[in-house]
Assembly symmetry: C2
Homo-oligomer: 143 residues x 2
DNA sequence: AATGATTTTGAGAATCAATCTCAATTATTA
DNA sequence: TAATAATTGAGATTGATTCTCAAAATCATT
């Protein structure tokens, strides 16, 4: 389970699983979907888990290195993250109207990309794909 | 040609094609590949085209709205742009070692994405795909 | 060409996410 | 327990970007 992984990861680097780090880990592990550091900070504050912004940012970094979460992208309002533990790889559709994020996965799409890389002599490690457009719900409203 | 398009676009909004805007347009039009506002600002400064940062940022915005350039993505060092006039749509491979950007296009990839959108009742408008990995050159070096 | 209205510019201030500083605190080791 | 090492938080700092606003440039009209 996540805490075990995180603890081991930290230990191997001579770092400690503090109360603050554990709290942030729990928060991100139980998170549904995408999140950003500031919101996470504010939510923890509300819940009387007063952890400084510095620690939030620092811990999110470590969690990335550890592979438990990942940066999704940078926006004008800051960086978006998502947890990766227990989540398969996927890509995103983003509704330009309501902001909804649809997660999807396509084996064909993955294979096609790897084929393309081969063609260019490029050694694939990972990728990010975001499709922008309008979701079903918004299409109904606007007609 | 670009200047004509830009001029018309501005005129239609009651805006003017000033010396500053024209200079930035020329610079971006003649640009090869990707660029960022700060570098563009510094280069123009070197060439005795002293244009303020404010104007650079403002003009890049307008050029985006006009469709002559596009934001590629946001990085920790700022926003990356590229010109779009005369360039077909394409996606990117980014070398994690040397930073090289390979531009590529795949009809199959495009079709596949549109099919996926259909499946989700999502109305496609555009997308961005970045494949991260290692380029041919770097692979040779590192073995 | 002069007048008056409109738009644009640039210098520097403001904003905002993210990082850094460093003294005080906490955990680990001897 | 004392010495050592890691961590925290408050606030300062950085860096990209935006904003402010007075001065300059451009346009339309007489
Ligand atoms: Mn996701
Ligand atoms: Mn490109
Ligand atoms: Zn929507
Ligand atoms: Zn390379």
């Amino acid at each position: 389970m996540e805490e075990k992984i995180f603890k081991k990861f930290l230990k191997d680097r001579g770092q400690r699983l503090t109360r603050e780090r554990a709290a942030i880990l729990r928060k991100t592990s139980s998170s549904q979907g995408h999140f950003d550091p500031e919101s996470l900070y504010l939510e923890m504050k509300k819940k009387s888990l007063k952890i400084s912004r510095a620690s939030v940012y620092r811990t999110l970094h470590i969690l990335c290195e550890c592979g438990l979460i990942e940066k999704v992208k940078k926006t004008e309002h800051g960086t978006i993250y998502e947890k990766t533990y227990g989540q398969g790889h996927h890509d995103h559709m983003l509704c330009l109207s309501c902001g909804e994020v649809i997660e999807f996965y396509s084996e064909d799409l993955e294979r096609l990309q790897k084929d393309l890389c081969k063609k260019y002599g490029f050694q694939w490690t990972n990728h990010t794909l975001e499709i922008q457009g309008y979701c079903k719900k918004c299409l109904k409203k606007t007609g």
